[in-house]
Symmetry: C2
């Protein structure tokens, strides 16, 4: 429901994969070490990223993760919503508007507008934009 450590770490992880040589399989331990992120926490996050296809997992010795598609095709919004589900700026937008007070309906209308503005930024930036900014 908000931008937390999980999303932060997830983006770092995907960014790291994006800067690795194409085809290289990178284990969690390497990502964790380089980006200073708790490994087990990162593992949980990458499970979600894997399920949504943003990254691909490879088990066994010399296993690890690779990107599911090129970094310029992965938007920040995709990463965020893979990890925590649909993004809501406020809890009250999660509940259906039926039977709510006039003041609430009015506030919802406003919040939806604000949220739309935010999601537009989320979906118009890719991981490649972020890694490019790193230099």
């Amino acid at each position: 429901m908000q931008f937390t450590k999980a999303e932060e770490y997830g983006i770092f992880g995907v960014m790291y994969l994006a800067t690795q040589p194409k085809g290289k399989v990178t284990p969690l331990s390497e990502i964790s070490e380089n980006q200073h992120v708790p490994e087990k926490f990162l593992a949980k996050i990458f499970q979600s990223l894997c399920r949504s296809g943003l990254v691909r997992s490879h088990r066994g010795v010399k296993g690890g993760f690779t990107l599911g598609k090129t970094s310029d095709k992965i938007t920040v919004k995709e990463v965020i919503e893979s990890i925590q589900g649909p993004y809501y700026i406020s809890k009250c937008l999660m509940e259906p508007p039926a039977g709510q007070s006039p003041a609430m309906l009015s506030l919802r209308k406003f919040l939806e507008r604000a949220q739309g503005s935010l999601l537009k930024v989320f979906s118009s930036h890719t991981i490649k934009d972020l890694t490019d900014w790193q230099d």
Copy 2:
């Protein structure tokens, strides 16, 4: 650091005052009852709103609150930031950028852009906009 019940209730409270006859002093109990908000919680919120001058308090019998300025002069951003201080889309924007990792600096750049987009919506809508939408 995020859009919570406190901000929600605060906006409801100010909206309610905005719909009352000009000059009327409205006690918390009335606002609480009409907007279905816990009275003590609302009291705390209104302390902040009072300190920042958005509402004016009147003590004693027949006391209560009035608006500090007309509702078309009160932006949503003012209400939010009165209640919870500066609005940050993410915790990591609260800390100074000095000495952070390249990935973090890159993410900050992105988050600042997203946050700016959001604050623009917050500051370009007033309480009057919200009460007008109620009809």
